[in-house]
Point group: C2
Chain length 250, copies 2
């Protein structure tokens, strides 16, 4: 799809629109829908035409990322994602966002395949944490066991001179239960449990805490958590996407 000549409303007179945005999604399909929802909700718009144009490849059949990363499957999702990115580029996408923390492991492979920018959900999230808490030195991480083991958040934090901290084993067990037995299973999770995990990381010295998992983003909305020191990875990516597209953040 060709790049669209966007007709800006009056408020946009000075802004440069950089659309359509390419969204490499489907991993999982509902996370992509939630990400689109956040982009729309976070855009300051008084009419449809003020919203960001999006080309979305909601490619649910991409091979399982976690299974491949943990070695229980030899179907590599990397080349499929790289091909999807090329297709979004050919279709006119001006840059690409991938609404998935697990897929961050394949970022280099995706970037190699295209000439347009591919945003880094982890880098954007850590940047958002640094912006939210000036003078930040210690960053707490709430994520799946897999993401903690891959150290994507630890490494980015360390590169920025931050000290990463993760939950103790018993709290991490409850984080996994909130993700798998709660959100993924469609069961309610109490606000108290989320608050307890956040308080635990604060007690360990974290001045900001990232939610590095789509299910935790959904949970944050569900329980109405809006503490300024808790930074949501999908929201960080959505904010950067709107900004880079030339949309107006609410």
């Amino acid at each position: 799809m060709r790049a669209i000549l966007h007709r800006p409303s009056e408020g946009y007179a000075e802004s440069v629109r950089n659309e359509p945005v390419g969204i490499l999604g489907g991993i999982g399909p509902m996370a992509t829908v939630y990400f689109m929802q956040r982009i729309i909700a976070m855009t300051d718009a008084s009419r449809d035409q003020d919203h960001v144009d999006m080309l979305v490849w909601n490619h649910a059949s991409i091979p399982d990322r976690t299974a491949y990363l943990l070695g229980s499957s030899d179907e590599n999702p990397g080349p499929v994602m790289a091909q999807d990115a090329r297709e979004l580029e050919q279709a006119g996408a001006r840059f690409i966002a991938i609404p998935c923390n697990t897929a961050r492991a394949f970022l280099d492979e995706v970037r190699e395949g295209v000439d347009i920018e591919v945003l880094d959900i982890v880098g954007e999230t850590v940047s958002a944490a640094q912006a939210a808490v000036p003078g930040l030195t210690t960053l707490g991480i709430l994520a799946t066991d897999g993401t903690l083991r891959s150290r994507i958040y630890h490494d980015t934090a360390t590169q920025r001179g931050l000290t990463p901290v993760e939950p103790d084993d018993d709290v991490q067990k409850d984080v996994m239960a909130m993700i798998y037995d709660g959100v993924k299973a469609g069961m309610p999770v109490s606000r108290d449990r989320v608050d307890a995990a956040v308080a635990h990381l604060r007690a360990k010295g974290a001045q900001a805490i990232v939610l590095g998992c789509t299910e935790l983003s959904v949970l944050r909305t569900d329980v109405g958590l809006d503490d300024a020191d808790v930074v949501d990875s999908l929201d960080a990516l959505a904010a950067r996407t709107i900004e880079l597209a030339g949309g107006r953040l609410r």
Copy 2:
């Protein structure tokens, strides 16, 4: 984007997958997100890969449909929609769904531009009503003033030998208030008001009632309306989309 060789799970052994589905969306952007959500929720899936692959052009900047149809703007959205459909086809879409009742007015123009099938939201909705109520003869219509005036539901009903009925003026005024002052304005609407409009059409002889407006689809979910004789246009389109894609309906 090329057609994807879908890897079916065991339960799909006999089914033919017909993907990716092309979604010509953005009119409005949130209706498209809601439509994707319904496709995902209505698909019987035990893992990401059982879901339908979707190519989505969430093209928010398409000129205002209602303004053009009512003559208050001369920016014609028809050629833009036809071009979007061609782009979805070139990108590999196997057929196209347009999650918008107002846009139905441009269906012929969109269909002329492509060789693949473009679903008719109105036709699918009336078919769903006929399937829901065997022996249906009188069809009630809840929609905007504009959709009633365009007579897209009336005409399709008449072609199928059905008698269309619409609300009396005072009830129609409240339907418009539920859509504009309620859903579009983000204000709650009581279940009683929805029930009253439905009861009014039943009293006028309707054996089935179609919700021919995205905001009414959202409202139906919000108030938890699940009467078997009330047929939702977005759900009817979502069901047909899943079926035609080779997905499994829940």
